[in-house]
Symmetry: none
Subunit: 199 residues, 4 copies
Amino acid sequence: MPKLGMETLRRRQLIEATIDTIHEVGFANASLQSIARRAGVSPGLVAHYFRDKEGLLEATLRQLSSDLGHGAARRLAQAASPYERLLAVVEANLEPSQFDRRIATVWLAFWGQVLHSPRLRRVQMVYEKRLVSNLRHAFRRLVADDEAARLAEATAALIDGLWLRATLSVEPSDADEARATVRRFLHGNLPAAALPHGA
Amino acid sequence: MPKLGMETLRRRQLIEATIDTIHEVGFANASLQSIARRAGVSPGLVAHYFRDKEGLLEATLRQLSSDLGHGAARRLAQAASPYERLLAVVEANLEPSQFDRRIATVWLAFWGQVLHSPRLRRVQMVYEKRLVSNLRHAFRRLVADDEAARLAEATAALIDGLWLRATLSVEPSDADEARATVRRFLHGNLPAAALPHGA
Amino acid sequence: MPKLGMETLRRRQLIEATIDTIHEVGFANASLQSIARRAGVSPGLVAHYFRDKEGLLEATLRQLSSDLGHGAARRLAQAASPYERLLAVVEANLEPSQFDRRIATVWLAFWGQVLHSPRLRRVQMVYEKRLVSNLRHAFRRLVADDEAARLAEATAALIDGLWLRATLSVEPSDADEARATVRRFLHGNLPAAALPHGA
Amino acid sequence: MPKLGMETLRRRQLIEATIDTIHEVGFANASLQSIARRAGVSPGLVAHYFRDKEGLLEATLRQLSSDLGHGAARRLAQAASPYERLLAVVEANLEPSQFDRRIATVWLAFWGQVLHSPRLRRVQMVYEKRLVSNLRHAFRRLVADDEAARLAEATAALIDGLWLRATLSVEPSDADEARATVRRFLHGNLPAAALPHGA
DNA sequence: CATGAATGAGTTTTCATTCAT
DNA sequence: TATGAATGAAAACTCATTCAT
């Protein structure tokens, strides 16, 4: 009998190697050989676990997306008020790890590819929809439905835009500042009663 | 009207073909042969005008960036007040042509590559800096310097985020709505005196 | 009925899977992995029973050849006259099962390989020699030796040619017609005394 | 301006190299690299002229088929009677060059592949139909239509079978003997009036 | 100025085989 | 016996680049 539990281990190894490789050389230059070399396995093994390169890329994007989703879910579970739910979403999407260049550059690389790969597209849409839907649900408890929809879209755009500009910038990113910007936006657009006391 | 030299004509042809090709097959699949075929010239010609593939890509990104810059400059020249200058920047960056998929998908593809190509990087930074600096200049006439800096960053992020989400979305983009969102943001963050009468 | 040992069972499984696979995807695309998958075993098992791929292919061709040989032997055992012996050979080689595409396409695929694999070659030669030698023996009882040799070669060629053209044709094969053609040939080339009464 | 007339030359070179390579190592082992090496060009050039490997193989089979077809056409043009037309077809298909191992083994290799490649199939069918249709036309001038059809099929099978057995055999092939066998078959199945005087 | 032939490295993918379990 | 993980070589194919014409 062959070694057990290899599958999970190998899949992780390869996904991590994919992230590292894309981070270092970019999407277009991330060859299977370079990824396999970094993972310390032979290139043929990719086929064994992911069928082909696109399978590996899809799994990698899925990993990034689910890491982000879990962060948000964890924070949402602890939120006691609609406002805290909003903050939970903001903080999950703008937490320091999301500004970590290793992760951020890979997200960005995928965004450039997503429009041309149906499989990646599907994964990306989950992220996109989830962000705005989380926000909209929270807003609905605080303002009228149409206003909630507008605010959700605007907040999502602000979050993504802050993240994007920070990632594209040469200067080191400041997650705190980004979150403060979104908080200011929320405070300017929510009724006072919705805000925490003393805010 | 001056007759265009062969050089200018060919360069345009190839840049347009590059945009079309990246739009259709994505950055990773845009080969010089496919670009040349679409431009109706031989692949060898690219070397003549752009030295190599990266030269053509750089020129293409430069084209996109300068088209956008000219739109902003034109609008800024007609702006009569700081508020109108803000609107000018917003409108230039969110005008319908920027939501046109042919252009938008190519911008996005470049963003994914920019971090891994110094030459593309340099071009991209011009766009990034220009947007926030245009905004900051206008804000400075209306609010204190540190608030102007904050607002400029937030507005730039909102603009980029709205554009990004619209481009990544499957639903048709609505430039008007995006601009209205930014206007609402401005109205909520500027002193009443800065806004046009009756707004 | 003797219980089949595991070995015999597995070997049969794998040979049948080889036939099915070559039939469906052709010789060049019949990989060990696809064969093993179809047989429901792991690819490593092939080495156990056949040492390597060529061993499996050789065993498969041997199987095809011996099936055909047994059919001929059975019919020959029941033949009461030289003419009936001729018919037995003809009928064995042109019986409907030999026109069955599953078998026929695999025979054909092997013929294309036989010249380049000594091991396959050896198996193939058994078939080739057996056919003509069976025919020659029967003819010798009916005509002079040199005529018997000529007739045996011609009959063998006619049999193989009819089978080949039927297999390569798109139209459904008709075993009866093929056999009638050979019978007509025999009747035209044998002395009347050799033929059954009333033929 | 690039060199002219390269296309025809290169295509020939590559087709000849394909024939030689298949002849020597078999269909399954004829890699593009080995073919290109033999042709003295780089492997990438195959794509330039034939798009992909199947394109080269198809062109090669087409070449074999058309060489054979031209031989038949030339002989048919000189045939003065239906009987001579029959002989023309027989001789074209069984002329010594068709028994040349370099050509014969390649034909055989293709036959093994033809059932699994639609493109090769189409080319092969031209050969198959042409042979029997040439024969049938000639037979129709000599015997009744249904008998002509039967004889054409049988003669075609005899031709292919003789060629096949000679090609598969280890012994050196004798084209003359093969043709004599077919002639005997014709003589045995045609009315005396159809045969040349003194035959 | 422009072609397109040609290269050769590089990419993904496939595969027979080996081997620890 | 049997598995399936893993390898490493080889396959087809793609592509940026060069160059003679």
